[in-house]
Symmetry: C2
Amino acid sequence: MAVIVHHLLHPPHCSSPLPAFSSSSRPLKSQISCSSSSSVQMDPHNNEGRTKFKAFPYVSAPHRNLMVDLVSTVENRLDSQLLPCTLPPDVQYYQNQSGTGSATLHIRSGHKPSQIDFILGSWIHCELPTGGALNITSLSAYLNPSTDAPNFLFELIQSSPTSLILILDLPPRKDLVLSPDYLRTFYEDTQLDKHRQTLEKIPEVRPYVSSSLYIRSLVSPTAITVRIETEASGQGRMEEVIKGHIDPIAKEVLEIWLDECACGEREVGETERGYLEKRDGLVKSRTIEIDLGSSLPRLFGPEVAERVLGSVREFFTA
Amino acid sequence: MAVIVHHLLHPPHCSSPLPAFSSSSRPLKSQISCSSSSSVQMDPHNNEGRTKFKAFPYVSAPHRNLMVDLVSTVENRLDSQLLPCTLPPDVQYYQNQSGTGSATLHIRSGHKPSQIDFILGSWIHCELPTGGALNITSLSAYLNPSTDAPNFLFELIQSSPTSLILILDLPPRKDLVLSPDYLRTFYEDTQLDKHRQTLEKIPEVRPYVSSSLYIRSLVSPTAITVRIETEASGQGRMEEVIKGHIDPIAKEVLEIWLDECACGEREVGETERGYLEKRDGLVKSRTIEIDLGSSLPRLFGPEVAERVLGSVREFFTA
């Protein structure tokens, strides 16, 4: 869900849209995967899209390494539960007409009886009319109504070498005010807030408030939504912040999500399931509407936008 | 709801609890009151408590004037819908044993068919062991399940002449993710966020994040939760900020609440009403538990705390 991106970039040339995920190369089974049901063979035709996605070009080495590590971690752990990416090649990788923008998109659905709805990753690169470039990389994961556990959301939006927005959260799937046990289980007992507090202490870190009230409502009370400005800190500082702070925190939050959410077992009754189906459906359709629907046409032109949106809608409105 | 206060003050001597509201002197009918049903005569025995409450001692003139104006505005508009304050005199005004802390509490319930559940105001003064004093003033309002419109919350927590926390919000009474129309009606169309943005631009203003995840979940996406630090800005700057910025914003937000929430008409079906009863009940009982239950005994000793809490519980668990 790069849903937030649309609101970041007021010069409207390069707001953005899509996160993505790789159906990448087979992982080393160095980590035990959770409740694997069957192993799905990768479609070899996806290799080109997958390779392009996993390249994470245009960003710094620490940024690229972090994305590759996160994608690999998810694949190591959940691969046996995920179907291959079935997006058409021209949706897995697409460009705008002028050649100033390119992007990848990878979506892998979970297959029954996995709790994964789908996992989605992307990178987007777009030259800015003011010089420089916008680079967005993201990884997000949606669970299905067989569990009520939170989703996963990670996004880095870099509009210059010294300016970065970080979104990292486990967005809740229930009204937290009505669900104190849920708040305790996923947000208090996991001590998620300590990561937000750690980042807050870095001098270059400022709060980032999305202009969308809907997005503000969607995220959890421990959401990390910050802007990092390193212009005054000298060359290389952004890389230091990514490597020394964002990298370990993102990995730790992903581990929490994998352990407690993707692989945790939750009891969901019939009424609850109906509620989750309704809420999840609203979240996904609203995500498309706010994010992709408005930003993709501006970035990539109406034709490419319609092609990509058409493919994405299959997952977001299923 | 001074619910947030408990989490503000890590030196645990003077965290705090109660907001309050005056059953004050009869207002000039300079403003048209909404759907008044009958005019309730004030109980003359409340005069002393009311007078003490409306004095707002210990705070600066701009701070006091703002509180008095807010209380008067609510009374002018809603008075005919409110029952007199029926709290015992030793709950309307109470002190700790050492005489270093004193507080007022005023609660007025709405009478049928008003949409008001109750309105609650308070001030608290507590000398700090480190020198100086903690002063908290607050005004909050809870609606009943005949409407689903947001509540009102305003609180100023001053722990030194140069340090102030401001909480100003219309806390929603529904899950905003599931209720896009509600989000639009009360938060987008009212342009509530512009006030948050205005305050954010003042150099002395910093974000304030409650340590309670529950409180973070409770407030709206346009909530103003900020800390104002004026130590570096010279004498009198805090008064300038209160008079020039907080005063007009608090009044404008209160007007929105009065027009759109307290006096607005909403259709609430039977199922919806049951939902609101459950959610409101949880919010109120949790508020008591997090806020008053833990801070009052430390501030005022177990005996006074039990007396005050006993009276407050009647409203918060009704």
